[in-house]
Assembly symmetry: C2
Homo-oligomer: 204 residues x 2
Amino acid sequence: MSRLPVYLRCLVDLPDGQVTCSSDQLAAIAGVNSAQVRKDLSYLGTHGVRGVGYTITELRAQLRLALGLNKGYSVAIVGAGNLGSALGTYPGFDAWGFRVVAIFDLDPTKVGMKIGDQEVLAITELERAVRRQAVDIGIVAVPAGAAQDVADQLVAAGVRSILNFAPTVLHTPEWVETRRMDVSTELQILTYHLQLGSEAATDM
Amino acid sequence: MSRLPVYLRCLVDLPDGQVTCSSDQLAAIAGVNSAQVRKDLSYLGTHGVRGVGYTITELRAQLRLALGLNKGYSVAIVGAGNLGSALGTYPGFDAWGFRVVAIFDLDPTKVGMKIGDQEVLAITELERAVRRQAVDIGIVAVPAGAAQDVADQLVAAGVRSILNFAPTVLHTPEWVETRRMDVSTELQILTYHLQLGSEAATDM
DNA sequence: CGTTGTGAAGGTCTTCACAGCC
DNA sequence: GGCTGTGAAGACCTTCACAACG
């Protein structure tokens, strides 16, 4: 469920002194309905206390468990351009147990470059390195034209989760979970709404 | 509707010779159901031809119009770190009529730096510059702690669309459309599914 | 009294299935 | 024959509303 990470982050951001949190409060911070919060949390087999709320530490632990954040995960980044570099040095991974264990690029002039604590490897090394490091999650940060090929290689190397930054739809076997993060798409959704707004204004 | 940008991109990527496209083909490329495609397109008042499909050029034009891509949009980026820099030089904006007209940062050592064709401005300039340039879309690429403050400033300067890369939920007036793009959240959704998969395996 | 947990109602989004048309 | 457009069915998700409880 895609709201759980949001709840977890909200709970982590709560002031230190606070011990319990009501569904109302969490809902307000997370920007959702409070019945929604309770329903979501009831899936985790939580035990909130009526009249009081949820114990923050307990709830955090349960969310971490549900999201599988009790284990660590190995992440490989493919593409060492601007985006790949930004991701490779992103400080927010550690906190949730994500470790970048490899970065690949096709461009020979980039191979050997240092990004964070990783040296960029040639893309020809991908399958071997990904297999050896038992990579859990592959991040595709290459141009659209190369994305499907990279995804195929990741899948062939045993990766079962892919985060795709390329502006293209990846086709993967059904046992591979793929998510897309595409700036242009998001911007276009925003303009769609801007557009709707101005149409409505014209109607008057 | 969030699938329209995907359709549009798929259509643009189609081989040059092809004149028409069936809902089946578009569905296959975009990774959705074909009835879905037809329903989505019927909203645009399209006129596909039975037995043939949709005329690609016509459909592209209709999608562009529906998404409001016939006008150009001014974009401001707040935050000139790794991410802000990557976005400021992202070549994919132009094609859809997005123009980065300003980049801001709090850090005085970054002010004056050149990113793409823009000089980084002090964040104190934000409201004035955003207003003068009639910015349509603000991109928040600052640390979580600063994000709400930046969003408030963007809203105060008249921005009605925000794309938020900070790992936090922004609270904005209801006339402001906000979308979140957060790598950690996406990774956590992936681990949630990995987790479910391994639980199911344990059950056997 | 305040808040949870949840059945039931209400929405929305997706898919099916097929008539209608080229 | 092949494909669109769409009513109807179905699946899923969200919200309401309130009994149950500390």
